[in-house]
Structure formats: structure tokens, C-alpha cells
């Protein structure tokens, strides 16, 4: 086993060696500009891009003409939301999203509010899922876009995407989803799910950083977005800029591997995840955050009450995980996603996210279980709150000097 053990695959994934191998020629001999139409260098690069586009399209069940390459999911989210707002402003100015979205969606919506958009931020239920009745109640004639993520990055819950799309379409709005955590991990089919626009990224599925996709539907309905990057008219005019050929080739290979291996990988990972989770949840006062039935197979988010996440991670120094706690003077606020579930601040501060991945082994999970248990017990020995809890003191009755 090599240390530290990487269990933060929701943040990013390592590059699959097979992806690297596919990319290498495009960093050296096949260096051409895919837009160079009049010599072999350009054609070779274009071939690589075409193959990648086909693979990306196959993975999500669309036509290759509907794939717009971007620099990543953040750019794809920006292009989708801002592009729709600008393109459809004569139809309306209302956008619906949810409070647990990634910042790439939330901050884009906030930006549009300054430009005249009306945005509804739907609250989520305790399990992290949105309430479809609330969504329907929020729809108006002005609603042009509903944008709700597929799988959540912090807790892994999978939204009822198909049902959400149906509500959006019933009121004549488009449905967009940030599927960064879901594509390549679980089957995503834009037609079966009724998705009009979708963002995802290569580096969350064992591809390189700096490349992503915005899927834009071309039929039933034909969706248009206003370009946010002007220039040479690449990507059907929706995203100018010389194509990142090696990155795109890597994304294509990553998509191909996911399509071929996803089913087995998901089974293996959910088994390992469940093993980890069930071993940790037996620790007293430990809680799984978010819906455990509708959840990505590789994620587990657990709060260990009475210990603070950042301090806990230090004791888990052989494990690379992440916490919903942020103990910095810039932000004492714990994770807004966990708070949206109605978790109290202290439980949000006590959370650890485990993100398993393609290269996670059972041996590593066994180690992680022991390491985490030890760390939690060690930190609880140090915790005045744990001592008070054990003495039966009601912590909510204490007047804390908030600082």
C-alpha cells in the first residue's frame, strides 16, 4: 500500500494510464491545430477530436454534434446558464436552481441576478433531494431554465432528474443539469432523462484537468446558447478558442473507458463504500449525511459528532479525504450543502467525505476503517464536548460565547 491513501475522488481523480497513453502522441508528434483544414497536421488532430467527440456522445446517448468542448465543468455551467439567459431573454428571465448546487452554478446565477434575472433557489429536504411539488409551485410563465445537479459533490445524492425535466418541460422551460459527479459513474442518458443541457468534466472520470463538455440538445427542442467566448467560431460558434486537442483526446478515452467499465466499477465501489460506511457508522454518534438510497456508488459523507472535521483529518494523516468544516478566519462557516440539509453547524463541522475511485483497493478501505476509528476515538478523548455529552450535559442548553 502506498501512503497517503487517496479517498478524495470527488475533488479530482487520477489520470488513468490508458488515458495518458492515448493523449501522449497529441502532446508531441500530433500537435496540429484541429482547425487547420489544409494539411495533414490539422487533419490528424481533427481525427483525434472527432473520435473523442464520438466517445463523449456515446457515453451520454447523444449525437456528436451536441457536444461542445470547454475548459471544464465550471465553464460549461457558465456557458449553459448565461448562454440560455441571454438567448431566451425575450421569453423570460426566471431561473430555478437549488441551494445545494456547486458554486459554478450558484455564483453564475447570482451574477445573472445583477443583470436582471430572477432566480429561485429551491431548498432541499433533509435527505438532500429537492421537493418536486415545490419545484412545480415555483414555475412561472417567465421560467426559462431549471438547472439542478445530477449527483451532489459533497454527499453524492442523485436528484430525480427525469421527473425534474418533466416538470420543466410541462411549463415550457429548458432543463439543464450539472452532471460532473455522475457522468462516467452511473448511466446517464440525455434522452431517457429529458436533459436539454448538461455539464461535465474529464478530471472527475480519470481524464485530464482543463477539459469538459457542455451538451446542448439539437432536436426536440433545438436549444441555442449565446456564446460567452467570442473568436474564431469554434464548436459551432458556441465556444471559440483553439481546441485543447490532447485534453479532448484524453476526455474521449476517459469516456470510452467509463462506458465499458462503469457497470462493474460501480458494483465494486458501492460494495467497498458500504463496507467502509457500515464499519464507521457503528461508532457512537456517527451519522451518514444525505439520502443513502439515491446516491452515487462511490461517496460516503459521515458526521462524527463532537469532533471537528479539520482536526480529525489531521489525525487521519495517511488518508486524503475532505471535510465540510472550514476552520479559517476567512470563513468559519461550515459546508453550505450540509447546512441546507438542516444539519446543525456543529454536525456540519464534524463531517468527513470519503470519495472512492477506480484505483481504490479493499486493502486501502480496511486501512481507512481502522485509521478513521482510531482518529475519531483519539479526538473524542481530547474533546470537551464529548466529555460533556458522556456526562449527560445538554450542550444546547449551554450559553456559548460565540466568536
Amino acid at each position: 500500500m502506498e501512503f497517503p491513501i487517496y479517498l478524495d475522488n470527488n475533488a479530482t481523480t487520477p489520470l488513468d494510464p490508458r488515458v495518458l497513453e492515448a493523449m501522449l502522441p497529441y502532446l508531441t508528434s500530433k500537435f496540429g491545430n484541429a482547425a487547420s483544414r489544409n494539411h495533414a497536421f490539422g487533419w490528424v488532430a481533427e481525427e483525434g477530436v472527432d473520435y473523442a467527440r464520438e466517445q463523449a456522445a456515446k457515453l451520454i446517448g447523444c449525437s456528436d454534434k451536441e457536444i461542445i468542448f470547454t475548459s471544464g465543468a465550471t465553464e460549461a455551467d457558465n456557458l449553459g446558464i448565461k448562454g440560455v439567459f441571454e438567448m431566451y431573454q425575450e421569453k423570460g428571465n426566471h431561473i430555478i436552481t437549488a441551494t445545494t448546487e456547486h458554486k459554478a452554478v450558484l455564483d453564475t446565477c447570482k451574477h445573472l441576478e445583477k443583470l436582471g434575472a430572477k432566480v429561485t433557489y429551491l431548498k432541499v429536504k433533509e435527505d438532500g433531494l429537492i421537493d418536486l411539488a415545490e419545484l412545480e409551485a415555483a414555475m412561472t410563465e417567465q421560467t426559462i431554465l431549471v438547472t439542478i445537479m445530477y449527483g451532489n459533490n459533497e454527499i453524492g445524492v442523485i436528484q430525480p432528474v427525469k421527473e425534474i425535466a418533466a416538470v420543466a418541460h410541462k411549463y415550457g422551460a429548458l432543463f439543464m443539469t450539472d452532471a460532473t459527479q455522475a457522468v462516467g459513474k452511473i448511466p446517464v442518458d440525455v434522452n431517457a432523462d429529458g436533459i436539454d443541457l448538461m455539464a461535465f468534466s474529464a478530471h472527475k472520470m480519470y481524464g485530464p484537468k482543463g477539459v469538459g463538455v457542455l451538451y446542448v440538445r439539437r432536436k426536440n427542442p433545438r436549444v441555442k446558447v449565446t456564446a460567452q467566448m467570442d473568436g474564431g467560431g469554434h464548436e459551432r460558434g458556441m465556444r471559440s478558442g483553439t481546441l485543447n486537442v490532447p485534453g479532448i483526446v484524453g476526455l474521449g478515452k476517459a469516456c470510452e473507458l467509463c462506458r465499458l467499465e462503469m457497470d462493474e466499477e460501480a458494483k465494486r465501489l458501492s460494495k467497498l463504500r458500504d463496507k467502509l460506511e457500515s464499519a464507521l457508522i457503528v461508532l457512537e454518534e456517527s451519522y451518514v449525511n444525505g439520502n443513502t438510497e439515491h446516491r452515487l456508488p462511490h461517496v460516503s459523507n459521515i458526521s462524527f459528532k463532537y469532533v471537528e472535521g479539520e482536526g480529525l483529518m489531521m489525525a487521519m494523516k495517511d488518508l486524503a479525504v475532505s471535510s465540510g468544516s472550514a476552520c479559517t478566519s476567512a470563513s468559519l462557516e461550515p459546508s453550505y450543502v450540509l447546512k441546507s440539509l438542516g444539519l446543525s453547524d456543529d454536525l456540519a463541522h464534524s463531517s468527513i467525505r470519503f470519495g472512492l475511485g477506480r484505483f481504490t483497493t479493499e486493502e486501502e478501505i480496511d486501512y481507512a476503517i481502522e485509521n478513521t476509528k482510531k482518529a475519531v476515538n483519539h479526538l473524542r478523548d481530547l474533546s470537551p464536548l464529548w466529555e460533556m455529552f458522556k456526562e449527560g450535559i445538554d450542550l444546547s442548553k449551554i450559553e456559548w460565547a460565540e466568536h
Partner: protein, 137 residues
């Protein structure tokens, strides 16, 4: 952010973890911070008849820097008179542990915990609490 060696050292081998009898007249207890903010420190001192701190214990809910700050504080307190203890400044802790700016609040909390423990001791023994400067937060 990487932690300094000294923070790691205190975090890995915290000094004086534990609990003193909070009902004893010779013990002063300071409980500062709040669970909602992600850090709570409890610092206790035991003072002898010569006004010397003969023992100090802590327990902390918080990040590594908060744990290290309180561990260091208990180490410094032992053997000091109460008056000397009052002069411990949070910036001394920052310097000793090489805390980055985003972790300065951990040292402030430790200073608050020291002063609050001393005041608890003073009040228990019929002395006026010392007026504390407004918290730095």
C-alpha cells in the same frame, strides 16, 4: 495548508490533556468558543496557596492549530504565578507555533481560555474578576 512542525508535534503528543475537579476552590475553569464555530476550548488551572499554577489541563474540540494552541498554553501555564499567566499574549502563541494568519483566531481563543480560567479562580476565591479586553473576533 501545511501545518508547522511545532503544531504537528503538539497535535500528535498533546500535553496535559484531561480534567481537573471543576468544583474545587483551587481550580479555575475556562470554557470558550462555540460548537457552531467549530472550536471549543476548556482550559483548567490548579493554583496553590502561593498563587502559583501547579497544574493545568485542557480539552479542545477544534482543528489541529486549536489543539496545539491549548496544549502549548497548558505547558506555559505550569509553574507561573497567576499574575504572570495574565501576561500571556496570543501573539506569543502565534510566534511559537508559527501559525498562519488564518489560524490566529485559535491563539486568541487560547488566550481567552487562560483569562477565563483565571477569572473563574478569582471569583471562586472572593476576588473581583479582571476586566477583559474585548475579544479580538
Amino acid at each position: 495548508m501545511a501545518y508547522s512542525e511545532k503544531v504537528m508535534e503538539h497535535y500528535t503528543n498533546p500535553r496535559n490533556v484531561g480534567t481537573l475537579d471543576k468544583n474545587s476552590k483551587s481550580v479555575g475553569t475556562g470554557l470558550v468558543g462555540a460548537p457552531e464555530c467549530g472550536d471549543v476550548m476548556r482550559l483548567q488551572i490548579e493554583v496553590d496557596e502561593n498563587n502559583v499554577i501547579v497544574d493545568a489541563k485542557f480539552k479542545t474540540f477544534g482543528c489541529g492549530s486549536a489543539i496545539a494552541s491549548s496544549s502549548l498554553a497548558t505547558e506555559w501555564l505550569k509553574g507561573k504565578t497567576v499574575d504572570e499567566a495574565m501576561t500571556i499574549d496570543n501573539m506569543d502563541i502565534v510566534e511559537e507555533l508559527a501559525l498562519p494568519p488564518v489560524k490566529i483566531h485559535c491563539s486568541v481563543l487560547a488566550e481567552d481560555a487562560i483569562k477565563s480560567a483565571i477569572n473563574d479562580y478569582r471569583v471562586k476565591n472572593g476576588m473581583e474578576p479582571i476586566e477583559l479586553a474585548k475579544s479580538h473576533h
